[in-house]
Assembly symmetry: C2
Homo-oligomer: 263 residues x 2
DNA sequence: GAGTGGTCTAGACCACCAC
DNA sequence: TGGTGGTCTAGACCACTCT
């Protein structure tokens, strides 16, 4: 093993800064200036204890800090590693252009094909249920009015990338393939347009927060990775909201791109 | 004190789930179903130790988990409290409409006035420096080509809400008030349009991550709060990028709203 | 079996806050 | 001054991974 070259400095016990934070600082710098590269193993807890001459809880607190920042992940029995950043997927502002629906693809499939990835949808559940408050407001239905709720999980090459729940007024969904697990070519939006309700625009409301435990489990998120919450409302040409889609996406895997007018 | 009503359950020592996680689960449920309200104090570490009959490090791990999720904040010498969510500010998709500039207001001031808050800008620094790689690409200049860099911090009613850094090609900035700390009425965009370069559109690239330590300090962020990173590129009517603005915003204080075309 | 991280105990001293 | 959280020590036993 010959000792870790990255361990050169010692902590300053007279400093105001807590010892565990100083250790975290050393490791953070090593990661950020490339002395520790993506996927590489950090010194073990035992090595850090010996080098800095501190108790185990102290080095664990330092490592905990790096994990919370999303810089490191631990693997039981193997070690602590510099987190590998997933390739970032850019969601373009024209991703709901009608030409995609015309080609018989739902938005997600159209997007993923363009990057040569294999898309999957699982955990599909369709039911009728009351609309939650913020959704009802966007859909312009009474709070707790029954709507059709479609939830599902999207994966790309086997990695879960999105949890989505759509809310559709019952009069637009009942008796259509929107009630089926597979809504057919072009997805929900194509089924809505078939009813003569041409879509005109979408409003997306983007927020971010730390995931709940359930979300972290379903999206295989490590600690220190926030999620995007994206609430999209689809409007038809008459200005009526015809669908609200509430999606949760890993924050480290997406870049959302939008166009704004200057006039 | 009469004991905490929220402490009713005990942990199951035979469960696979770690004791500290079970304690965190109890507290999380109490917060989420309203038994512990915003701003309210959690039971102290000593109380939790006694109730669950565990060591101090165990209850501290439970509390640590809640803090990482952004559900609680600790105050030295006072206690641990249910995190107060700041009022969420909605950024509308028409916020760069020219009418705001015509009224002599920069975008930030126009926005904040509409909600009746007092806006401040501090930590203003203007300098010439090489453009970072991702910025240079958006600005279509060579990597490390010198550009004008304007950084500043925005506050609302005394609370810091945004760290922003603008990059402007030197030929558009030198000799104008863009080089001044105060760029004048209507902000940078107004100064650019005065040079006959009418703005046509903006592209905003939105990402999210945990803040660096420096960002958490400048934005007064607690643990467990992610940030938005928003990179906005401004284009003139000829399609030339005339400014790139890189901003960091507390993720719990903003909701970004965008409009997407369906055609 | 040796090495790793995960969990937990039972203390200690300190800094900060409210009374 | 007593209660609070912040930091740190020095152990223990366990589960997991690799060889």
């Amino acid at each position: 093993m010959a000792g870790h070259q990255i361990l050169v400095r010692q902590v300053d016990p007279t400093s105001d800064r807590a010892v565990f934070r100083q250790i975290a600082d050393h490791l953070r710098e090593a990661i950020q200036d490339g002395r520790l590269r993506t996927g590489e193993k950090l010194p073990s807890e035992a090595q850090l204890m010996e080098h800095y001459n501190v108790a185990r809880m102290t080095v664990r607190q330092a490592i905990q800090e790096l994990k919370a920042e999303g810089l490191a992940v631990s693997e039981h029995g193997r070690g602590v590693f510099v987190r590998a950043r997933p390739p970032v997927k850019r969601l373009a502002f024209d991703r709901f252009a009608r030409r995609h629906r015309k080609e018989g693809k739902a938005a997600f499939l159209a997007e993923s094909e363009s990057v040569g990835a294999k898309a999957d949808v699982d955990m599909i559940k369709v039911r009728e249920a009351p609309a939650p408050g913020d959704i009802a407001e966007r859909l312009r239905v009474s709070p707790d009015e029954t709507v059709v709720v479609r939830s599902r999980r999207y994966s790309l090459d086997g990695t879960p990338v999105e949890l989505a729940t759509s809310y559709i007024p019952v009069d637009l969904a009942r008796g259509t393939r929107i009630m089926d697990d597979n809504p057919g070519p072009g997805g929900i939006y194509a089924r809505i347009e078939e009813q003569g309700r041409q879509l005109e625009r979408f409003i997306e409301d983007v927020s971010t927060r730390m995931p709940t435990h359930e979300e972290a489990r379903l999206l295989l998120l490590g600690p220190g990775v926030p999620v995007f919450r994206l609430i999209r409302t689809a409007y038809d040409v008459e200005g009526r909201p015809v669908e609200v889609c509430d999606t949760i996406m890993p924050g480290d895997a997406y870049l959302l791109s939008y166009e704004l007018p200057a006039h």
